[in-house]
């Protein structure tokens, strides 16, 4: 049941490689990481960072974009999803990967895409996760949920769902996610709630949805769901709209106050850059990319996180190496885990935000040494 993942085209690299021996680093990525300087000695790291700096034996959670196929086309899609890609992992490959995750004691898998329910093997993959005791989260647009599917999903456990709504009104949501999607997503939520699934409403914060946070909160509550608000990243198609949609600094300031007043709202620890306002938000205070988490894309590409799907930051590919080998021995991850603070090193608030989101820096300015483009101290 737990034999190594054997993917097509890979015959000879099943043995573990020395650290740093997996994959070559793109020169652009290498230069960018080197320019950030040297990381502080481990002893001086603060909070969660001191545990993450050395690299964990396995990720805590993995975002697995299991297919690029999607039945809607969000303007900010971080993986530019739409059509299925030619080298997407087969169901057998995916099942072997689940076994590898279980053997490594990965705690949680977060299925995204694309729309996971379009992936032909999704039911078998969920079943295998249940057998192997992996916690599952499925991030879905909700539009493909039927009464039968909502019922069938009850057999998989532990499983919870994130249904995306990027606005509290049809006008705001559908301007991002497509015409009619708001109504269809609400129907999906209704069907999942009727079967008493564990639910969150996932909403990417934009300058337009900011004014609808209370409404989103109420919508989530009406389905006995929690609201989960996450940060807009300029990756994928998000690069084209980030300038127009990302919240203003004043909105972020009000948002931190709103979060304080709504402690039950989840944030996926994605707003730690707002700690520089002076009030630490709950959760991780540092980027978990390549340390606590990573992202697997449909064709087997492994990236530091879901927001950093840049070809030059590919740590390895599951068609060529095992996941364990990539996680523990990839050159890119090795460098990535030891990046310094760059321009933020001397900032008095560095200990609060740790320089913010590397992916946002890269996609906006093609640099990792600069401060986060949404730095609230700018």
């Amino acid at each position: 049941m737990t034999e190594p993942v054997r993917f097509l085209g890979r015959q000879t690299r099943l043995q573990s490689s020395p650290i740093g021996a997996v994959g070559k680093i793109d020169p652009l990525a290498l230069t960018a990481m080197q320019q950030t300087g040297t990381m502080m000695p481990q002893q001086t790291g603060r909070g969660s960072q001191r545990f993450l700096q050395g690299g964990l034996s396995a990720p805590i959670t993995i975002t697995w974009e299991i297919t690029a196929a999607c039945n809607i086309a969000c303007v900010h899609c971080l993986s530019s999803s739409g059509r299925r890609r030619p080298r997407e992992l087969t169901t057998q490959q995916s099942l072997a990967l689940v076994d590898e995750f279980a053997d490594m004691q990965v705690f949680q898998l977060h299925f995204g895409g694309g729309e996971p329910f379009i992936y032909p093997g999704i039911w078998q993959v969920l079943e295998r996760c249940t057998e192997r005791g992996l916690v599952m989260c499925v991030s879905t647009n909700g539009t493909l949920i039927t009464p039968e599917r909502a019922r069938r999903l009850k057999q998989y456990d532990p499983l919870y769902f994130q249904v995306s709504l990027d606005g509290g009104t049809a006008a705001t949501n559908d301007s991002i996610r497509g015409k009619g999607v708001f109504t269809r997503a609400l129907r999906g939520l209704e069907l999942l709630a009727a079967e008493e699934h564990s639910l969150t409403v996932n909403s990417v914060l934009t300058r337009h949805s900011f004014t609808e946070l209370d409404r989103l909160y109420d919508i989530a509550a009406s389905f006995n769901a929690k609201l989960r608000v996450t940060r807009l990243r300029p990756s994928g198609r998000g690069q084209d709209v980030w300038g127009d949609l990302h919240p203003t600094r004043e909105q972020y300031r009000e948002f931190t106050a709103w979060l304080s007043a709504h402690p039950d709202v989840l944030t996926a620890d994605s707003f730690f850059h707002l700690n520089a306002f002076g009030n630490k938000l709950p959760g991780l205070d540092v980027c978990g990319a390549a340390t606590a988490t990573c992202c697997i894309c449909p064709e087997g590409e492994v990236y530091p996180c879901a927001f950093f799907q840049a070809p030059e930051f590919e740590a390895g590919n599951l068609h060529d190496n095992t996941f364990k080998d990539i996680w523990r021995n990839s050159s890119l991850f090795s460098f990535y885990r030891n990046m310094g603070g760059g321009a933020c090193s001397g900032c008095g608030q560095y200990g609060a935000c740790h320089g913010g989101c590397p992916a946002t820096k890269w996609f906006v300015h093609r640099s990792l040494q600069i401060k986060d483009p949404e730095c609230v101290l700018a």
Partner: protein, 95 residues
Amino acid sequence: MSQFPVNYRLISEVKIRRETFGGILYKYGCADRGALSFINSPQLIELLIAGQQQHAGNLSAAIESHNYSFASKRKLYAALDDLVKRGYVLQHVEG
């Protein structure tokens, strides 16, 4: 340190993983808030694993089955009190 007869029981949903610094506790919920703790005590991690695997979650039994010194026991019970507050361990008085 709690006084006897107090029983400590690991919640069944808690997952434990060894790491070089000690280990990680993860409780099902989600990757967002309050479900994850880094524990920098290998001794505590080993106790929790022993309790989970050999004593059906009964951590008091795991402690008492080992030859811990009084000082170590005291430390471990104090750590369990902290894990009670963080929601990984249940504490109940035996009646």
